[in-house]
């Protein structure tokens, strides 16, 4: 049991037609690019065409049939608390542009690092800003693409606050 098995469920969910698209987010997604940082849960952004407010109902029912157990806002599957998240504009764009990563025999869709950074900036908790710092320091990080996201998704204020706290990361 573990993250790999939990991620395999996402591919199964797409195959079963329960969701149209998904991309792993949060600390687990960041671990595909940078040094892994401890996390309690697995965050996955999903898109379901034509779904209303009950966007999560179908995917949750699917996971329950496959042994998932409700744990607060999460479903615990294969020992991992999984949180499915509906996508706002920024995340939806990230899901469309998700990178396909290989995990042994499994292909997993992961948010691109620039989208991860922009979402971390938007959420703005201490752990998110730490992740943002680490991503900005990553040598393969595409700064211009990230700045484009800040501009298009109106994150100027959040970025200004962050830049004030960590001026050394602006270079």
């Amino acid at each position: 049991v573990g993250l790999v098995e939990a991620l395999a469920e996402m591919a199964a969910m797409v195959e079963a037609g329960k969701i149209d698209g998904y991309a792993v987010g949060g600390a687990v997604a960041a671990a595909f690019y940078i040094e892994p940082a401890e996390t309690e849960d697995l965050d996955v952004f999903i898109t379901v065409e034509g779904a209303g407010l009950d966007l999560l109902a179908g995917p949750y029912a699917f996971l329950m049939q496959r042994g998932g157990q409700p744990r607060g806002a999460h479903i615990e599957i294969h020992g991992v608390p999984l949180q499915l998240l509906g996508s706002d504009c920024l995340a939806e764009e990230g899901v469309v542009r998700a990178r396909e990563m290989q995990l042994d025999d499994l292909r997993v869709r992961v948010l691109p690092p620039e989208y991860l950074a922009a979402l971390a900036l938007k959420v703005g908790r201490s752990k998110d800003l730490q992740r943002l710092r680490a991503l900005l320091e990553w040598e393969d990080f595409n700064r211009s693409s990230f700045e484009d996201l800040i501009r298009r998704h109106s994150l100027h204020d959040e970025w200004a606050k962050f830049a004030q706290r960590f001026p050394e990361l602006l270079d």
Partner: protein, 354 residues
């Protein structure tokens, strides 16, 4: 350049290399590492549970036996722990009663025994009702060694244990203080402790706070290095002392602001109330500071960095150091270092009002 001092460029480079190495691992390996970390966290949550009275009594009995053995071996603190444990075993819950039962002790040992009794009573409550058992709330909180006064290194301990430990260090090393702890106020409820001054009856409010950590100091050094705000600066010399003092001074300023606002300000408004800040640098001194007497420099720099308004927020301000290692009770115990407080400022100005 001082020999044996830390080489910050090397430390920074080693950490960056470590990060790069971890980042370059295959994703499957990284996810397995996250699985292991999650399992470790689950174990911690599972370990936190409600203890029943019979279990608590058994732990208490074991601690009493251990303290008796240590007393026979000549451990000077064991007798004080023994008295505190006996109070607990007898079910004494009233401060006045507890103090009366310790009346045969000298003033300073009475103060230490009272503090230990309060500490162990806090442990007892944590065993009965540990906060943070659900994942939705805070981190799980239960003492790792219930009814034990050994705290060190500080990393990974409950905050309350650190607060008790630092006040204990202060009381042990200042036997002439004449202060008796009367209450542990607890986290998030204003000041940490209340004490009473034996002779004058003055009420003291005490705040115990972590001034800095090794990680904070290293991060600040790395940031300073990247910024290059002082291009001629070498990474030897007094740079670590300067950074430690800077972080300590920031903590004091923050605490001074808090001490004069909200609930803390209301508590101190009562006439005859005095305030004390005990600041402890939670750093690995061997790793962070140069070995040759750096603390006088740190204290001097903190002193220089504080303006009178900040200093006036507390009647006394102490830096309790060497807190990262457990320290033996006795003559070898180094006294906490007085930084400056209203009392000390007044003394310096030659107008002590008492």
């Amino acid at each position: 350049l001082s020999e044996g001092g830390p080489h910050w460029e090397q430390i920074g480079a080693a950490k960056a290399a470590q990060r790069r190495q971890a980042a370059a691992l295959p994703p499957v390996e990284k996810l397995k590492a996250l699985d292991r970390l999650r399992e470790r966290r689950n174990q911690i949550y599972r370990a936190v549970r409600v203890f029943d009275e019979a279990e608590i009594a058994r732990i208490l009995e074991r601690r009493l036996v251990a303290a008796r053995r240590r007393e026979l071996e000549g451990d000077p603190r064991a007798r004080l722990e023994l008295r505190a444990l006996q109070l607990l075993q007898e079910g004494i819950d009233d401060h006045g009663q507890a103090r009366a039962r310790l009346a045969d002790l000298s003033v300073d040992t009475q103060a230490v025994s009272l503090l230990l009794w309060m500490w162990f009573r806090h442990h007892q409550e944590l065993l009965r009702n540990p906060p943070g058992r659900s994942r939705e709330s805070t981190s799980p909180r239960q003492p790792r060694k219930p009814f034990a006064a050994e705290v060190g290194p500080l990393g990974g301990r409950l905050n309350s244990d650190r607060e008790f430990w630092i006040l204990l260090r202060f009381l042990e090393s200042r036997p002439d203080h004449g202060l008796f702890p009367t209450a542990y106020v607890g986290q998030g409820k204003g000041w940490d402790f209340e004490m009473v001054e034996g002779l004058s009856g003055a009420r003291w409010l005490v705040e115990v706070t972590e001034a800095t950590t090794t990680e904070q100091v290293e991060e600040r050094l790395e940031r300073s290095q990247r910024q290059g705000d002082e291009p001629d600066l070498t990474w030897f010399g007094d740079e670590p002392e300067r950074i430690v003092a800077g972080v300590c001074a920031e903590t004091i300023r923050r605490k001074a602001r808090q001490a004069t606002q909200g609930g803390k300000a209301e508590s101190r408004a009562q006439p005859g109330t005095r305030t004390m800040l005990l600041l402890y640098p939670n750093i690995d001194e061997q790793r962070v500071l140069n070995s040759e007497g750096p603390w006088s420099q740190v204290v001097q720099r903190i002193d220089e960095a504080l303006d009178d308004q900040v200093v006036a927020a507390f009647d006394q301000l102490w830096l309790v150091r060497d807190s990262s290692e457990p320290l033996a009770l006795g003559a070898d115990l180094p006294a906490p270092t007085l930084v400056r407080g209203r009392d000390e400022s007044a003394r310096r100005a030659g107008r002590l009002d008492e």
